[in-house]
Subunit: 308 residues, 2 copies
C-alpha cells in the first residue's frame, strides 16, 4: 500500500516505521525543517517498546512531494488539521483513504469539507510515543487502533487498511462504534488531561485529591449531554469509573496537555472541553465546567506567553 | 485604651505597635511559640513604611493572659477565627468591643455567636504587611481602616475606637457602609487572589490574559447575586472596573492566597468563593464559577499536601 504520514511527530514516525517494516511504501510529511533534515541525513531512529532501530525512509514537506497515495494517515495536532488538509490536496485521488486518529472532537466535520465521506476513516488509538530529538522518536504500547468508515456502507476499503495495520503489528481492528470510543477518549482528555495541566500535577496526584469525584462528574455530565445530541450514549457513572480505572493504570504520568504547557506549546483544549462549551451554548445547555476550564487553560497559555 | 491583639502576625503586630506608640496599653496574643519567645527576649521589631523600630510589648498565648480588655482586635486567618473567639472568652467584659478586619465573608455571623451585636465592630483595611522572621515584621500603607458598629444604634463606642486609631496614625474612619466595602474587597480576593493562586501568576500577568474579562464577570456576577440577598447592591460593571483599577495599582504583586500555597498553608477560599458557592446552593442559584474555583483550589491544596 502506498502510504503518506501527514504529520510525522512521535506517533506519525511510529506508525510510519511499523508500516514500512511491514512492506508498505511509506512517505513521511512534516513542516519541521530540522527534523526532516535529520531524517534525510541520518535516517529515522525509532525505539519501539525499548527496541532501537534506524531506517531510511522518504521524508519531506507536503509541497515537495508530488506523488498521490492510497492512504494518508493524519497525525497533526488538532489545530494543525485544517492546514494539513489544505497542503495535501494534490496527493489525493478519488480513492485515497484519509485516516484520522487525532484526539478531540469535531475532526470528522473538518475533514468532510475536503474529503468525500466514503474515503474518511475515523478512529482512536492507545499507542503512545515521544519525540526525543530531531529524527529520533520512541513508540510504545500494543494498540489497538480502532477505526470505522465514516460512510458505513463503504467498509471494504477501511477493512483493507485494518488488515494492513494488523499485518504490521499495529493491532488494527474494525470498530462498529468509533464515535463512542472517540467521545470516551475525549472524556479522559477533558478531565485528567485538562485538570493535570491546570493544577500542574500528574494523574496519580489528581486522583488522590478530595475534589476529583465532583470535578469528574461535573465535566463528564457536560460531555455526555452533547454526545447524546449526536446519538452517542455516555453513561456518566460508567465513564467516571472508566476514568478511575484508567488513572490507576497510568499513575504518575503527566498527560500531553501538561507537557504542552511545560514546553510552551498551545494546548488542544478548544477541541475537547472547548467543543463541549461551544456546542452547549449553541444547543442551549449550560456547561460551566467545560467553559471555565477552557478559559483557565487559555489564561494559563497567555501567562506562559504561548501564541495561539 | 486597654487593647489586645488576637492574632499577632504581620497586620496584628503593625496595629499593636502603632497603638502602643500612640499611648495605649497593648498586649499581643498569639499561638506561635517561636514568635512569642523572640518578642519576649528581643522585643518586637517593626518596620513601618521603611522605618525600623524595636519595642518592648507584652505578649503571650491567650491562656496565659488573665486580664480583661476594652477592645480586642482580631487578626487571625479566617479559619482561625472561631478558635480564637473560644480562647479569648475570659478576656471579655460586658463592654469589651471586638474589632474584626478579616478578609472574607460570614465572619460577623460567627462572632455574633460569642459577642453581643452592640460590641461587634466590623471593618476592612488596606494596610498590608509581612512577617520576616519570628519577632520581626513590616507594615505598609496609610490606611484607611473603615469600621462600623454591627448594631447601628450603638455607634458611640465604635467612634471612640475610630478616634483612637486616627490618633495613632492608623487612619481610622467610621463608615456608614462597611458591608459594601467588605463585599467589594471579597470580590477583589475572589477574583485576582483566587485566580493568581490557581494559575500561578501575579496580578499584572493575570490581567494581561485574554480571559480576564469573562472570568471577572463570571465570578463577580455570582458574588453580586448573593450580596443582593443580604441587601448590598454590587453593580457588576462597576466592580469589574474597580478590579481593573486595583490591578493597575498593585501590578506585579503575588496575592496572599498565592503565598499561602507557595508556603504550603491552607487558603481562605472557603471564606470567599466558597461562601458564595454554598450560599448560592442554599438560596437556589447556580454559582458555577465560585463552585469550581473552590474545588480547584482545594484540589491544589491536596496536591501540595496541605492539611485543612
Amino acid at each position: 500500500m502506498k502510504i503518506a504520514i501527514a504529520g510525522s511527530g512521535a506517533l506519525g514516525c511510529g506508525f510510519g516505521y511499523m508500516m514500512q517494516k511491514g512492506g508498505n511504501d511509506v512517505t513521511l510529511l512534516d513542516f519541521w525543517e530540522e527534523h526532516i533534515k535529520a531524517i534525510k541525513e541520518n535516517g529515522l531512529s525509532v525505539t519501539v517498546n525499548g527496541k532501537e532501530d534506524n531506517v531510511i525512509i522518504p521524508v519531506g514537506k507536503p509541497e515537495e512531494i508530488k506523488d498521490t497515495f492510497d492512504t494518508i494517515f493524519i497525525f497533526t495536532k488538532s489545530m494543525g488539521l485544517r492546514n494539513m488538509l489544505e497542503k495535501i490536496k494534490h496527493m489525493l485521488t478519488e480513492e485515497t483513504k484519509v485516516v484520522c486518529l487525532l484526539n478531540g472532537l469535531g475532526h470528522a466535520d473538518t475533514i468532510s469539507e475536503y474529503i468525500p465521506k466514503k474515503n474518511i476513516i475515523m478512529g482512536t488509538t492507545v499507542w503512545t510515543g515521544g519525540l526525543d530529538a530531531p529524527g529520533k522518536t520512541h513508540f510504545m504500547g500494543e494498540g489497538p487502533v480502532e477505526v470505522q468508515n465514516s460512510d458505513e456502507n463503504e467498509e471494504e476499503g477501511t477493512r483493507q487498511v485494518v488488515k494492513m495495520m494488523a499485518d504490521c503489528g499495529l493491532n488494527g481492528i474494525y470498530s462498529q462504534n468509533v464515535h463512542f470510543t472517540t467521545w470516551r477518549k475525549a472524556c479522559v482528555n477533558g478531565t485528567m488531561n485538562a485538570l493535570c495541566s491546570l493544577l500542574d500535577c500528574n494523574i496519580k496526584q489528581l486522583f488522590e485529591t478530595s475534589q476529583i469525584d465532583e470535578l469528574n462528574h461535573g465535566i463528564v455530565s457536560e460531555f455526555s449531554r452533547i454526545a447524546e445530541t449526536e446519538g452517542i450514549k455516555l453513561d456518566v457513572e460508567e465513564i467516571v469509573n472508566y476514568l478511575k480505572a484508567t488513572a490507576e493504570k497510568v499513575g504518575g504520568h503527566y498527560p500531553s496537555m501538561h507537557q504542552d504547557l511545560k514546553n510552551k506549546r498551545p494546548t488542544e483544549i478548544d477541541f475537547l472541553n472547548g467543543v463541549v462549551a461551544k456546542e452547549s451554548e449553541v444547543k442551549g445547555f449550560e456547561a460551566p465546567y467545560c467553559k471555565q476550564i477552557t478559559q483557565l487553560i487559555h489564561a494559563k497559555e497567555d501567562i506562559l506567553g504561548i501564541k495561539r
